[in-house]
Symmetry: C2
DNA sequence: TCGCGTCCATACCGTCAGGGTATGGCGTGA
DNA sequence: TCACGCCATACCCTGACGGTATGGACGCGA
């Protein structure tokens, strides 16, 4: 039970920070300067880590180090741990504040209206915590909740929602945004096949495989040779489209609010809808968060029923997921 | 940016292990011997942790230490982190094995049949990983997946499933198990109200509030003065009932397989069903796990359709949850 | 009320892990 | 073939962490 190593002390936050840097940079020297330490201690730390785990984590060819299969697993787990550690510090500090605070976030443009209305409705409830709204860029929401900087986020389902509990709020069709002169703009309706291979924008904070969010499908298999512009919010996205650098699948409401001559919006027959959901830390036991989530669901449901003129396909089905915020809410 | 403290190095696995022990034991001396260190270093470590976080974590009355509100938050987060760290080590080591392995677990009695059939169907698929079946006691399944000792678990929904992705497989009614001579055994059908205040068994590995699993409702509010027998598996549970120490809500199939004179089973009108689900690490990207989950869903669905004589309420609705195992399965 | 026991905090000390600097080895590309 | 880039090894030093000894506060029982 010692040669193979117990599980208790083999991994440390420091080890995981170090290994993450190396596995991501694929270069020990660069990783060392990213970490602010010298290269030799980092080399040694990684080797010690491999010895303690009894597992080879890196293939060390002379020009670069590449993670082994086990190394890739550890990288994924390391991100999870580091998020959890950061969350622990953030949430503990927030819990120590004199007045309770709920930090909510959403990307600007798509979801901030709903978020503001929810925050207002929540603030009107008796015993509500102070609400702090954090504006964030594309694809940042999931990370903000996971590492504890935010308690609750509004994000599109499938965006970056693993490890979070979520409840759908609203759903709307997605349309293709094309540069005005684009050949496809001549057609009145498109399908996902038409869009294959076109340059979809790239969101810098998401892992590469998450890019299927913008394309409505999985782009991992395809050799995406086309240069992919980097965007951080909807105005950058639309600008990239207008300049002919990209096409994108965007929520219909975003298109409606941004009618312009240099962009053509076209329905896409088989594109999945854009579903906006509220997300929070999986298994959170905070009454304030549970209360806020419930308020958001109510606000969204009221808005659906009040503007009942809209097509019924715009309504999100309530999730059948069993786990909700489990806090009993008598505070 | 230094007085308030950054987030980077304030928390360490060691700190969280230490704090967890203290917060759970509510006694530094006992926590120290549980950790296998002397008391003074532990005292110092906790104080340093408080200083680094800038947060008071413990109320130190003279006879015992009790966690503050922030301390309770940190305790919850610490458990999460420690599970994730343990999972990182376990999964990395498992990923380094020559032949890929999927470790699956279920409690004995209720779910092992389905698990075995799923394992057999999975093993027949091309390129399947080796399946290792881990038997576990009541309420252990969630923890086993969270800390990485298992990859996949079959468990009842609501049991201990936070932080896991899950997909319902089968659903069946729950019945009350009563000692043969119990007054309620005279009635042919019961309701949850009848059972309020009765001694439901206690599962040692679950946190106290999770006991509502056995009672079908939330027992946190009630002053449960009745002594609660501790059970670890279904035979212990039934024994406790037969001895008159407990009553329990159990899946109907378990009752059918354990007909005996000293226990009376009675339907409970408003008790929620027992839903068996397959659970895996939220956001897991392993093709083998995704494949196993899919096989389990197919096996369960085949069994539902094949014995179509059963009442339709026994069929679990497929979850509308968007996130499934995200791996593209071409391996 | 006194004394004892329990429990947490402080003081002091030794060890070793972790970080820094210097340097070597190796492969690649010009 | 030379120079550069990159990783590994050798060596030193600082400081963090754990142990022992001890003090102080509070509660309880005689």
């Amino acid at each position: 039970m010692d040669a193979t190593g117990g599980i208790d002390g083999v991994l440390d936050v420091r080890d995981l920070r170090y290994f993450r840097a190396v596995a991501e940079e694929r270069n020990i020297t660069r990783a060392a300067e990213r970490l602010g330490i010298a290269q030799p201690p980092l080399s040694r730390a990684i080797r010690q880590l491999e010895r303690r785990l009894g597992v080879s984590l890196l293939d060390r060819s002379t020009r670069q180090v590449t993670p082994t299969a086990a190394g890739l697993v550890l990288l994924e787990e390391a991100v999870r741990v580091l998020d959890a550690v950061s969350a622990a510090a953030h949430r503990t500090r927030r819990a120590a504040l004199a007045a309770p605070v709920v930090v909510v976030t959403a990307k600007p443009g798509v979801a901030t209206d709903l978020l503001r209305r929810t925050a207002r409705a929540y603030a009107a409830e008796p015993g509500a915590a102070r609400v702090e709204i954090l504006v964030s860029g594309y694809g940042e929401q999931g990370g903000l909740v996971r590492d504890g900087r935010a308690d609750v986020a509004l994000l599109g389902t499938g965006e970056d929602d693993h490890g979070l509990d979520l409840e759908p709020l609203t759903s709307e069709p997605r349309v293709a945004a094309l540069p005005a002169g684009h050949p496809l703009a001549d057609r009145s309706v498109l399908s996902c096949r038409d869009l294959a291979g076109l340059p979809f924008p790239h969101c810098p904070v998401l892992p590469p495989h998450a890019d299927d969010y913008w394309s409505g499908r999985d782009v991992r298999d395809e050799a995406v040779a086309a240069p992919r512009p980097v965007v951080r919010d909807s105005s950058q996205l639309l600008e990239a489209v207008a300049l002919g650098q990209a096409v994108a699948l965007i929520p219909a409401s975003l298109a409606e609010r941004n009618r312009r001559d240099d962009i053509a919006y076209r329905p896409v027959r088989d594109a999945g809808p854009y579903t906006l959901a509220i997300a929070w830390t999986s298994g959170s036991r905070s009454p304030a968060i549970a209360r806020f989530v419930r308020t958001a669901i109510e606000v969204a449901s009221h808005e659906r029923t009040s503007r009942a003129a809209g097509p019924p396909s715009h309504a999100a089905e309530p999730s059948s997921r069993v786990a909700g915020p489990v806090a009993s809410d008598q505070g």
